[in-house]
Assembly symmetry: C2
Homo-oligomer: 410 residues x 2
């Protein structure tokens, strides 16, 4: 028995990624200044330094009367103490001034009695409770203080982060520029969705999927269309793409068959060309990594599931690094395996699983699917379980960590 064709050697994904990054030497990506109204989900590229104390002044946390705490000593539900109401901006001993939630504390006062603990008689105020100093006062700087770091670089900006930025008075901030990612599908069998289709052809679906994954990571996809399995067409489209992009992704043409011309085409476009081809990864073994003219190229399988997993393994950390994100991981949860699954020793395996929640516990149901082209193995799933290459599977009942890509029904 002979092995006519095939990958001569499979590389571990970790080794491949290190090799790629060593050549690319990516530091932090370019930053741009944008209005905070456009900043949702962008990645902060410089720390936000607190430029003023919040609150900006001592303020009342309640509706009530500002006064001196020492004037309330001995007051209780059974024995009131009476102060004089004033309307001046400053108070002295035995005086009180009405304040509303959020009002600055008048000079001289050091606490606020809540309205419901008082009774007003013309210009006299009866007080029925003893107050400690600074009772019901939000102290200047108790939220954040001038000079401290409000938000750190690498934060993906969510609404609650924007709240702090706006409260500090900023109208624009610096964020990482969106990497431009060119996406090219290759294959004679591919037809654009919507057209008519003849036997043996399939509708191309990888570009929209990969573009969506790029957008989720705050980068800007560029659609390069479909290339034929033809050296000239491939060379032309990839050369054009490299001029417009920061990263290029291809799908298809990366196995070892007759029409798998991509590695050859890429090697002809510039050094070092393809640096790793063939991964110890299931699915997505035919994934390749290349560098041409200093730009990274990710060579993905044409099989849609393998393409998504190749993106997950190599593009997610690459884009995260470009953006300066502090974490490149998806949200993980812990769950209990419903069934045992066998995996192949020596291959890192991405199992597609459906996480279900029952009585507060998470259960993990592996999706049965033979091939890397079965789309419903992804649409029925909401997460990946990554089985390391030194394992031969996962036991029923084992606690596993799931990387979520879809929502879990509660």
């Amino acid at each position: 028995m002979t092995r006519l064709k095939g990958f001569q050697k499979l590389t571990s994904t970790d080794e491949a990624m290190i090799k790629w990054l060593n050549i690319l030497k990516i530091n932090k990506f370019e930053e741009i200044q944008i209005p905070i109204k456009e900043a949702l989900n962008r990645v902060l590229s410089s720390d936000i330094i607190v430029n003023q104390d919040l609150p900006r002044f001592d303020k009342s946390a309640v509706d009530g009367y500002a006064l001196l705490a020492e004037d309330t000593i001995g007051a209780s539900q059974f024995k009131s103490i009476t102060l004089n109401l004033t309307t001046t901006k400053k108070i002295f001993t035995k005086q009180a001034i009405q304040v509303w939630t959020g009002n600055p504390i008048p000079e001289g006062a050091d606490s606020v009695v809540m309205m419901e603990n008082t009774k007003k008689h013309n210009s006299q105020l009866e007080i029925y409770t003893q107050l400690p100093k600074w009772a019901n006062v939000s102290k200047k700087g108790e939220d954040v203080k001038t000079g401290e770091i409000g938000l750190t670089s690498g934060t993906r900006l969510k609404p609650h982060h924007l709240a702090l930025i706006a409260a500090l008075g900023y109208t624009s901030i610096k964020v990482a520029k969106k990497p431009r990612i060119a996406v090219l599908a290759t294959g004679n069998e591919l037809v654009d969705s919507g057209g008519s289709i003849s036997n043996g052809k399939i509708f191309e679906s990888n570009r929209i999927t990969i573009s969506g994954l790029c957008k989720e990571l705050d980068s800007e996809p560029i659609d390069l269309g479909i290339a034929k399995d033809d050296i000239n067409d491939l060379s032309e489209k990839i050369s054009l793409g490299l001029k417009k992009c920061d990263v290029l992704i291809t799908t298809g043409g990366t196995s070892v068959g007759q029409f798998d011309l991509l590695p050859e085409v890429i090697n002809n476009l510039g050094n070092p060309g393809v640096i790793v081809h063939g991964m110890a990864l299931r699915p997505a073994m035919p994934t390749g990594l290349a560098v041409v003219k200093g730009k990274p190229i990710l060579i993905l399988s044409g099989n849609p599931v393998a393409a998504m997993i190749g993106f997950e393994v190599f593009m997610r950390p690459l884009i995260s690094k470009m953006l300066g994100l502090t974490s490149d991981k998806r949200q993980t949860i812990n769950g209990i395996m419903n069934r045992k699954v066998a995996t192949r020793l020596g291959r890192k395996t991405y199992l597609r699983v459906q996480v279900l929640r029952k009585n507060k516990n998470f259960f993990v149901e592996p999706i049965s699917a033979r091939g890397s082209s079965i789309l419903s193995s992804m649409t029925k799933a909401n997460g990946f379980v990554v089985v390391p290459s030194n394992r031969e599977g996962i036991r029923k009942g084992e606690l596993v960590s799931v990387q979520l890509f879809g929502s879990v029904e509660n």
Copy 2:
């Protein structure tokens, strides 16, 4: 002791929500047809019915030779069987045709032998393995079958969903229209970010936060600006907003102080006006729900943390209902409380917590913060723990469910 002002009665959030929804009678929201290129994160409003089998034809899952499985009986590593290579479109017994991954299976063939299990001699093919029927064949319809439901209405579309839609040949789909949500901040103390600021004033931060929360839920915020604590200004801006929106949200002016004019203004604009005001909820007690001219109005506290939590409790389920989303919950995880926290009996409490991951386990650190205006209590947090109103707190070491709004460092 007298209670001068205050909410006469606090309503449970569940009771309040039911009351609101009963008046609003929201069914599914309007749907619109959009190109799939714009469909990422939109909510599918009609089931995607599979319009063609996938794969569209029996196809080879490997590079190799198509043949009849029965012709390989008895073949092994030690004893080969020889077939005749042909190049016709149809094969008969004792014949084989070369096929590449993804190629249609030629008529007459029922399995594919992998290239590495063969040896070619001119027009003869030696085969070193016995194959079961349909070996290495992706059967027509094994992914999805014509007529079945590919994706259900209410799905928030992620890249892997778009993959299936594109593979079925669709170029446009029906999604829920984005509800238009008008956001008005109120308060004499508020100044727009970026301007100069005098003592006693604060930079307004609720509009950008609430707008961000709206966008995350696939709705379209409309900025109504800042209104003064003035009946005419409030009436005018709210009337204008109601004409442009499907839902209106106000922040501030909802407590029971001198300048809390909103409930009165809203009641004057139409029936039934304010239906619940004052919630058994911490923070965010002064939240109110109203309906004017058939449109829902959510009256949020001016305190930024209370505003976010009021949105979380009432607007998230309302928008989810409008969009027809199958789940209105945030992703939850289970974690172990690092410290005990006391809460007030009779109030549902939203604790801000920071979830940390250590050795595969999740630990939950409550964020200490006194007031509902402490923004850093949100920026330091990544989730809520909801303590029900019949509890007085959570014990140290207790397993709690956390609703995540930020990422957990792995």
